[in-house]
């Protein structure tokens, strides 16, 4: 058992038994290769179900909105940032929350690993130090974990320790030099027509299941514009213009709020790289307004505040 996992369990036991919290949200194993699931622990004696490994992919901040209980939550760096945005937007009461920040929190991209296995079902996946030993029928491969991380993890992550109540693990040791905006920069170089074609092709894979929206911790609107019928902002059909309208509007709704956690990409059943939309906006906000969402619970969202040095190139 990893040190981090042991510490998570110990904290959960303590927090639940001394009634600091009513609910502990973490991860648990489901006995399937490379998969974990969100765990909702209410009894200290169940704390030993909690686990920690690079397959703990979900952004659990999703589960915070609308709860009245006192909650402790296990959060990776980007998840802490999502929580900060939720605090900022008054969706979560800080006093009711115990944030357990975990360092060295890179998440393995299952799709990248699956791509190595000739499309075969993976039958086992084990972590050994910085390597992943993965097996399918008649295939066995040893992969370097750092080459199979989610694009959203390719970043020198912010230090969120000041926000967290409890910090577990050393500051990340598995950092990569890769640029998490590499694909976005590549697309930026293309002509508007080429970009339009790219998005048309990608978004034509969408089946309108709304998993991207529902996995996003910031999509907490009680009634999403896409579900409203009066007025009918977006058509409900599978027409590409309706689908694109949904994705573009949702992405714009996350401007200045998105922390690029990648939950939308991981949720998509058809592997649409939605970060090309949301990540681009996140990058633009950073470059234009010098603002990064979810770093400070006291700062206002750049989209709803004004600074004298805000760019105004668009005013001609």
């Amino acid at each position: 058992m990893s040190d981090i996992q042991q510490q998570i369990q110990e904290h959960a036991k303590k927090l639940l038994s001394d009634k600091t919290v009513d609910l502990f949200i973490g991860y648990k194993d489901i006995n399937e290769p490379m998969l974990t699931e969100p765990a909702f622990i209410r009894d200290a004696k169940d704390a030993d179900q909690l686990i920690w490994n690079p397959f703990c992919e979900h952004n659990l901040a999703k589960y915070l909105v609308g709860r009245n209980e006192k909650i402790a939550i296990v959060a990776k760096t980007n998840d802490v940032r999502s929580i900060v945005v939720l605090i900022n937007e008054q969706q979560v009461i800080r006093e009711n929350l115990t944030i357990i920040g975990v360092n060295c929190d890179d998440v393995i991209d299952r799709k990248k690993v699956e791509a190595e296995m000739d499309g075969k079902d993976i039958t086992s996946a084990q972590i050994k130090d910085d390597k992943l030993i993965v097996k399918a029928e008649k295939i066995s491969k040893t992969l370097k974990i750092k080459n199979y991380l989610h694009d959203s993890c390719l970043d020198n992550k912010r230090d969120m320790s000041e926000i967290c109540d409890i910090i577990i693990g050393e500051k990340s040791s598995c950092k990569t030099e890769e640029d998490k905006y590499a694909k976005i920069r590549e697309l930026e170089q293309k002509t508007p027509e080429e970009r339009w074609e790219y998005f048309k092709k990608e978004l034509s894979k969408c089946i309108r299941c709304y998993a991207c929206r529902n996995a996003c911790p910031l999509c907490y609107c009680k009634s999403c514009f896409v579900d409203q019928k009066f007025p009918n902002w977006v058509g409900q059909t599978t027409d590409l213009s309706d689908t694109m309208c949904f994705h573009i509007m949702r992405a714009l709704h996350t401007a200045g709020r998105c922390v690029d956690c990648g939950a939308c990409v991981r949720a998509c059943p058809n592997g649409i790289d939605l970060r090309m939309l949301t990540g681009k906006i996140e990058k633009d906000v950073k470059e234009l307004f010098g603002a990064e969402a979810g770093l400070n619970p006291e700062t206002d969202n750049p989209m709803t505040s004004y600074k004298e040095d805000d760019p105004e190139d668009f005013i001609k």
């Binding site: 489901i30 399937e32 998969l35 974990t36 699931e37 969100p38 909702f40 979900h58 999703k62 589960y63 791509a115 499309g119 079902d121 039958t123 029928e137 894979k205 089946i207 309108r208 299941c209 709304y210 998993a211 929206r213 529902n214 996995a215 009634s223 579900d227 019928k229 009918n232 058509g235 409900q236 059909t237 599978t238 027409d239 991981r266 949720a267 059943p269 058809n270 592997g271």
Partner: protein, 345 residues
């Protein structure tokens, strides 16, 4: 009427080329690493080396979005006609998805109501299923009364026996098509035996099971059980499990209209969505995740059983494979079977 034919694998592309000339041919095609049934003009683009398609077949007969009719102030009502009236062949469908089509017939081609939009598409379709030699680790069809060699719903049943395919006509429709097929020849006994062995081996590879013997009765006792809170807690309420399910068939009818014209459209709906059964008054009889999770399980393993004497599940495993939080139907059913029954109120 059991008629068998063989074709060498090297001749299959040619056969499919010919079929594509006379029929609308739908077959598994891989695009960006995802296999789906796609209309093809020839046999070249087809992959028959696949587990199962990402999406089930249902949208061929029951499209995700279908215009029922259009209207305008000037022209009144117009009903769109099926554009391509050629007969369709679905080639390489997995047995679970063929069975799912039979289950959906209960709903759209039932004793009480016949859906003309569905029937028009369904009736002129010939289904050629392909036995699964290699089931997925997430498959559990054998516990639902079917299996990798199940022929229900197929017109022609195909088994890959190495360097050849064995074709079996299951229905008259299938027999007619089999007679049309060129490049085929009579199989030998050893080929037929090999096909049977492969199917048995494949059945044995399926390890996951669900127990449905007393499930429907059990669910009757659990309507008010706290188990639904637990089962729904991690669900994020997206539509993946229902949209990718070969048997889920809920829909919502909406008007897409502006000014004096519009269309009445039938779209897939999902019981997992927050606005499922949201009434015009703003009241929703299924206000939270737990009622919606209960609806999904009840519909599959209780209401459908009562209405049509079958579970609305074929064990394809798509709901688990694609769920963002890996909600496993097998474990859900296990928990339900083990749950303490609630006394009826």
């Amino acid at each position: 009427m059991k008629k068998l034919k063989m074709i060498n694998k090297k001749d299959i592309t040619k056969l499919l080329d010919e079929l594509a000339k006379n029929y609308r041919l739908l077959a598994p095609v891989e695009k960006d690493g995802i296999v789906n049934f796609t209309e093809v003009q020839n046999g070249q683009d087809i992959t028959l080396d696949f587990y199962n398609s990402k999406e089930p077949l249902k949208k061929l007969f029951f499209p995700q979005s279908e215009t029922l009719y259009c209207y305008s102030k000037e022209q009144g009502r117009t009903v769109p006609e099926e554009q391509d009236k050629r007969r369709k062949i679905v080639f390489g469908l997995r047995p679970c998805d063929a069975k799912a089509a039979v289950l959906l017939d209960n709903v759209f081609d039932g004793a009480d109501f016949k859906d003309p939009y569905y029937l028009e598409k369904r009736e002129n379709t010939i289904i050629c299923s392909l036995a699964c030699n290699e089931p997925q680790t997430s498959c559990f069809c054998t516990s639902l009364g079917l299996g990798p060699g199940d022929k229900d719903g197929s017109d022609i049943f195909i088994v890959d026996i190495g360097d050849k395919y064995l074709f079996e006509a299951v229905t008259q429709k299938g027999q007619k098509l089999l007679d049309e097929m060129t490049g085929t020849y009579e199989p030998e006994d050893k080929d037929i035996k090999k096909a049977q062995t492969l199917i048995t081996e494949s059945e044995n590879k399926i390890k996951k099971q669900i127990e449905t013997a007393c499930l429907s009765e059990k669910l009757d006792e659990l309507a008010d059980s706290p188990i639904w809170d637990e089962l729904a807690e991690k669900c994020i309420g997206c539509g993946i499990c229902t949209y990718l399910c070969p048997t889920c068939h809920c829909f919502a009818i909406v008007d897409e209209a502006s000014d004096c014209k519009g269309c009445r459209v039938r779209n897939w709906d999902s019981c997992m969505f927050g606005n499922f059964t949201l009434e015009a008054s703003g009241h929703n009889p299924r206000p939270t995740g737990k009622e919606r999770m209960r609806q999904r399980i009840m519909h599959k393993f209780n209401y459908f059983v009562k209405n049509f004497d079958a579970n609305a599940c074929v064990g394809c495993g798509r709901c688990f494979r694609n769920c963002p939080v890996h909600n496993d139907l097998i474990k859900v059913i296990e928990k339900i079977n083990n749950a303490k029954s609630e006394p009826k109120k």
